[in-house]
């Protein structure tokens, strides 16, 4: 019986098998398969479930000190070049496998409830399985090239899923934007991979790091070239992990169904960038400048996301900007040379953010009963409020998520975020200040979301507000019909995953306490020992106390403003500083810039090139033709449809020439 590590290739293959089977079924027997909802869901859930079981046994083995396993085969070769592919299982991979399969499984179960009324139910499950397969493949990739392959595949799944409701214009644009912005990052990643291959002759993580070091030492690679290559590769993670300025696609991607937002755009795919940077740690550790760039980009992203989240009225968009901000924290950790801390935050964040998104899905699902299937209404917090009494499970889990992300001990977010802030304090004190302030903003906007959604009075039946929102979104209020039902708690397929996710959201942080970090012990035993040795309460308490204090301050402000309504922030801040408010509400004007500069710019350029093609290049052709009376335009007037005749002339001419030259050539031969 082979060990679980030997069977690791099955982990991505199992969901792929399920996806291919149902996908082929959908193409060949569309109606029949669309009716077989339960069998399809069962098949795909068991495929992902089997992958999860395998992942957990691998994690268990790795915890018990099993050695990493790597298998390679030649995928393509030409001349002296060999492109290997295969799979690798190590502690980092094992952690990610367990994480992704767990959340994917829960999201599949949740989707059974969330998509119950959707006619694309089977297609949705197929895409989900396809995504799980690609994401799992990415995790076990042993080299940069294979990472790139799966990197693109998860991007494709994201495209398909964001554009899932393809009759919505917003979804169509968001899907395309997500793919194209990611391709901008992949442009850098691809060039970086090629350059590193040129410089080191390797695609392997360690091989690249060693090769580049040797190349620099031997002088065959210029230092500027090495720096440039590292930064180019970093463009990939910047796009995928929504780092400034390539974050613009992620909030728009919320057009997709909410289970997707939880799985892909919060917990797993967007973390792939952070994961890749962690994989490339041997490379980046050689270049402090690159690390500083990563840290600065992370910090900007972290602050930008939190600041925009302050003013969002759309529940999902608020969570999306929160994700952007948290990904910034992770990137900051990577820049501080602390990949373990970054991955730890990735794990804790995956659990509580998935729970928050699934919770928001539960809210939206309930809201649709009242305001109808219109995202502009169902996701807007101005129409929510007072949902706690009607949706106890959702509200309690959402509340737990809010505490966890705000960094209140002993919940998960506290330990991981504090670890990052501690690292930043030691490496880049200025960045720590920004990260510290952002922690306060995080607590504030999360509790703002919570209070607006779950506390106070229910505002869903306010038709005047509905009409106002629809008009603001450019839709005709008279065409919309509210359902006028009532809000109620979601059924068990949706409530159960929330409850399950609440457990790690509360507890998992305890695995990473700085004095005895089991998490670091698995990923990097030496670092764990070092951490435990250097740990002192005297250093830990002031920093941790400060972060808790600012979080509490943020929460208190939210309580005062949105629960007790003692202060009116709208008047206090927005009224006095309209410029700041407009700046935040317009998302730092980055979307506008993107639209004006890149979208319209590229269209204009393309039109001009086409103009040149039609008028100049083809114009010369037609002109020459007219002048010699041999062109299509010229011939068109001379003859009327006897095409065959001309073909015959050409043919006869050719034969004639051949014979002529043959006769001339014959005697010589």
């Amino acid at each position: 019986m082979p060990s679980a590590e030997e069977l690791a290739w099955l982990i991505p293959v199992l969901p792929l098998f399920g996806a291919v089977l149902t996908g082929l079924g959908l193409i060949s027997f569309n109606r029949t398969i669309n009716r077989l909802r339960k069998p399809v869901a069962l098949l795909l859930i068991s495929c992902v479930g089997a992958a999860a079981a395998l992942s957990y046994s691998i994690l268990f083995n790795q915890l018990n000190g099993a050695p990493p396993v790597e298998h390679l085969f030649v995928w393509a070769s030409a001349g002296n070049f060999v492109l290997p592919m295969g799979y690798v299982v190590d502690p980092l991979g094992a952690v990610m496998l367990a994480l992704v399969t767990t959340i994917a499984l829960l999201v599949l179960v949740y989707s059974h409830g969330y998509m119950a009324h959707d006619k694309g139910y089977v297609r949705f499950f197929t895409y989900l399985a396809l995504f799980s397969s690609s994401m799992l493949g990415l995790i076990i990739s042993p080299n940069l090239l294979e990472i790139y392959v799966f990197w693109e595949l998860v991007g494709m799944c994201s495209y398909l899923l964001v554009g899932f409701w393809y009759d919505r214009d917003g979804a169509a644009h968001a899907a395309q934007k997500a793919f194209v912005v990611n391709r901008v990052g992949d442009f850098g990643l691809l060039l970086g991979i090629l350059g590193l291959f040129w410089a080191t002759g390797s695609f392997d993580f360690q091989g690249i790091a060693d090769g580049l070091q040797n190349g620099l030492a031997a002088g065959t690679v210029a230092p500027w070239a090495a720096l440039l290559l590292c930064l180019l590769v970093f463009m990939g993670p910047m796009a995928k992990s929504a780092q400034f300025p390539l974050h613009v696609w992620l909030p728009d991607a919320m057009e997709g169904p909410t289970p997707i937002s939880a799985l892909i755009h919060a917990a797993t795919m967007v973390a792939a960038g952070v994961f890749l940077v962690a994989r490339l740690d041997p490379l980046y550790a050689q270049f402090p400048i690159v690390q500083t760039v990563i840290a600065v980009v992370g910090t900007i992203t972290c602050f930008l996301g939190a600041s925009i989240a302050l003013t969002q009225m759309d529940l999902k968009k608020g969570l999306a900007y929160s994700t952007v901000s948290q990904l910034g924290y992770m990137m900051l950790a990577m820049g501080c040379g602390a990949p373990v801390a970054g991955i730890f935050h990735l794990v804790t964040h995956a659990f509580f953010k998935a729970m928050l998104f699934l919770g928001s899905g539960s809210v939206i699902h309930a809201m649709e009963e009242v305001v109808g299937h219109e995202p502009v209404l169902a996701q807007d917090m101005r129409l929510m409020g007072g949902l706690r009494k009607k949706m106890p499970v959702t509200s309690i889990t959402f509340f737990i998520g809010c505490i966890a992300i705000s960094g209140i001990p002993p919940l998960a977010g506290f330990w991981s975020k504090d670890e990052i802030l501690g690292q930043a304090f030691n490496s880049y004190p200025i960045l720590w200040v920004v990260g510290f302030l952002t922690a306060g903003m995080t607590a504030f906007y999360m509790f703002r979301l919570y209070f607006l959604t779950f506390e106070g009075e229910f505002r869903g039946n306010d038709t005047a507000m509905q009409a106002q929102l629809l008009t603001a979104a450019g839709k005709d209020p008279s065409e919309h019909h509210a359902h006028g039902g009532s809000v109620h708690e979601s059924a068990w397929p949706m409530a159960a995953p929330l409850a399950v996710l609440a457990v790690p959201s509360v507890l998992i942080g305890l695995l990473g306490t700085p004095w005895n970090s089991r998490f670091a012990g698995l990923l990097n035993p030496e670092e764990a020992l070092e951490m435990a040795e250097q740990f002192s309460w005297g250093e830990f308490l002031p920093l941790a106390g400060a972060s808790v204090a600012i979080s509490v301050a943020g929460i208190s402000l939210a309580v005062l403003a949105y629960a007790l309504r003692r202060i009116d922030l709208g008047q206090l801040v927005a009224g006095r500083f309209p410029a700041v408010n407009a700046f935040l509400a317009n998302k730092w004007y980055l979307d506008v810039l993107n639209e004006k500069l890149f979208v319209r710019g590229s269209r204009k350029l393309a039109r001009e090139v086409l103009e040149v093609d039609a008028k100049v290049v083809d114009g010369v052709v037609n002109l020459t033709g007219l002048l010699t009376l041999g062109s299509g335009e010229g011939l068109k007037y001379l003859e009327t449809g006897r095409a065959q005749f001309y073909a015959l002339i050409v043919f006869a001419g050719v034969i004639g020439l051949v014979v002529l030259f043959g006769v001339i050539g014959g005697p010589i031969a």
Binding site: Y166, A172, V180, W198, L610, A669
Partner: protein, 545 residues
């Protein structure tokens, strides 16, 4: 130094069964027998007949590959040589090596699918299928013949069916498009004839047009440059290379779906194949001078055509320009002096043959339903045509080089091959790779915008009320399925395809590296029969020039 080249080419493995002659003659004889097929005039019987003939041809080529072709050999195989018209110095010489065998298979494969795609054709069906079958034989002949005069004959023979197929079954501007096509290609192919005659008669030895004989000749560099330039124009029109491309959007814009599949799937590959066969293989000294130009032209193709495709509002012309853009990678691969890059060019030809054919087939199938090609008049049709939407999405993703499909592998091989090609200076490589990679961003922009405008969003009421948007029928799903099997198969395990031509490409690249060394240091002594030059040589860069 050409002794080595000759050693690679002059030991052809004789065929036991004349597979290649059969694969050329079966469709041509089949075409001549079309008038005898009983048919009531609507094409319901002829189409079965034509399909069977193309399938037999396909099976013959497969049999040739399986029984007579050893992919580990770099030289000519399945070789047949019959003195045809000895007085004219003309020999019926056919054979296949790594450059031609995959393309012969591609031709017979795509043609049989095009036959199936032509199912609804009811206008003059006999003539249509006659031309289709003649084209099949002609195209296989282009790849299989081993004599430059025969090649020229096959190349010209091939044009006539295309011309007629365009002129009779084309769209509204078919006369203009067909005439433009024939003038462009026939005009440019004059250069092939001139080059063939020049190469046949000059360079010493007895006049002969066989590739092996031509390869054995020692042409002067000036002569090579002249021939190379002429051939580059001829093949550049076919490939096409910007700015010789303007016939293509017109021809593609007017052709019906099956003809379209053949144009994109096979015709463009004739240009790439001929570049490798003549320019690279027979004129190595000139190639080492011209290669940087090929690479620059390749980049221009990629970016220029991607931008024009983005701005196009006509679906067919949009895809036509995207073909031009993809052929840019072929040019870069051909221009690189690395086995990886040239292999990539070869794979890109095969891959684009499959993907281009599938996209053009889908364009035709969509047009049959919407009766418009203007993107402004489409929109939201994904709700009625879900399977068609799925097929379109898969093929568009294949075209934008999604990993797991063949386009990704071929583009990656070209990129990696060129990036590590020590024959060019580092700055040149950096600039070229950077610019070519812009294509990586531009391709999804125009392809995904196209999908969005056709399928996404609200249904256009005008379109829905005037047309009958039925979903894809099994025949259409089957055709795309057949094309997707190799696309995904190559994408998952490219060695399946690359191994079939690997040794030929390696031999070719090694010869060219040797030739480059010769050009750069003509006085350097070269020992006869020397082992192949190592893949990475430290030659002064030619790219900076």
């Amino acid at each position: 130094m050409f002794e080595f080249a000759v050693a690679g080419l002059s030991d052809p493995v004789q065929a036991t069964v004349p597979w290649l002659s059969l694969s050329i003659l079966v469709p041509i004889v089949g075409a001549l027998l079309v008038p005898l097929v009983p048919d009531k005039g609507e094409g319901k019987q002829v189409r079965w007949y034509a399909l069977i003939v193309t399938l037999i041809t396909f099976l013959i080529t497969v049999a040739a590959y399986l029984t007579g072709y050893d992919p580990s050999l770099s030289g000519l195989q399945l070789s047949e040589r019959v003195s045809w018209l000895p007085d004219l110095g003309l020999t019926w010489a056919v054979g296949a090596d790594g450059l031609s065998m995959p393309l012969i298979l591609l031709t017979s494969f795509i043609t049989s699918l095009a036959c199936l795609a032509a199912w609804p054709v009811s206008f003059k069906p006999r003539l249509f299928y006659f031309l289709l079958l003649a084209m099949d034989g002609g195209q296989i002949a282009v790849f299989a013949v081993q004599d430059m005069l025969l090649f020229f004959l096959a190349w010209e023979l091939e044009l006539i069916p295309v011309y007629l197929l365009l002129a009779i079954w084309g769209g509204k501007k078919r006369q203009y498009a067909a005439t433009k096509f024939i003038l462009y290609t026939a005009g440019s192919s004059l250069f092939i004839l001139l080059a063939a005659l020049a190469m046949g008669f000059f360079g010493g030895g007895t006049p002969s047009f066989e590739y092996t004989a031509l390869a054995a000749k020692d042409f002067g560099t000036g002569f090579q440059l002249l021939c190379y330039a002429g051939l580059l124009i001829a093949f550049g029109v076919k490939l096409p290379i910007v700015p010789l491309h303007t016939w293509l959007p017109d021809a593609h814009g007017e052709a019906t779906a099956p003809v379209h599949m053949l144009l994109a799937g096979i015709l463009l590959k004739m240009g790439g194949y001929a570049l490798l066969r003549f320019n690279c293989e027979l004129l190595p000294a000139a190639h080492s001078q011209f290669a940087p130009l090929l690479i620059v032209l390749g980049v221009v193709n990629i970016i220029y055509a991607a931008l024009t495709s983005f701005a196009q509002r006509n679906l067919k012309r949009k895809i036509a320009y995207s073909s031009i853009s993809h052929m840019g990678f072929v040019l870069i691969g051909v221009g690189s002096f690395s086995a990886l890059g040239t292999s990539g060019a070869m794979l890109q030809m095969i891959s684009h043959g499959l993907i281009g054919a599938s996209l053009f087939f889908l364009v035709g199938a969509t047009y049959d339903r919407t009766h418009t090609l203007q993107l402004d008049e489409m929109g939201g049709i994904g709700q009625k045509m879900r399977i068609m939407f799925a097929l379109w999405t898969v093929c568009a993703l294949a075209s934008l080089a999604l990993p797991g499909m063949s386009g990704f592998v071929s583009e990656l091989m070209v990129f990696a091959g060129f990036a590590t090609d020590e024959a060019y200076t580092l700055p040149f490589r950096v600039v070229i790779c950077g610019l070519a990679a812009v294509g990586v961003i531009l391709t999804p922009i125009y392809l995904l915008s196209m999908l969005r405008e056709i399928f996404f969003g609200k249904e256009k009421e005008e379109l829905v009320s005037h047309t009958n948007l039925v979903d894809a029928e099994p025949r259409e799903v089957y055709i795309i399925g057949c094309l997707l099997v190799p696309i995904i198969g190559i994408g998952l395990y490219p060695k399946l395809m690359t191994d079939s031509y690997r040794s030929s490409i390696e031999a070719l690249v090694n010869r060219n590296l040797g030739a480059m060394e010769q050009v750069i240091s003509p006085t350097a002594p070269l020992i006869r029969g020397q082992a192949p030059v190592p893949a990475v040589i430290q030659a002064p860069a030619v790219g900076a020039s």
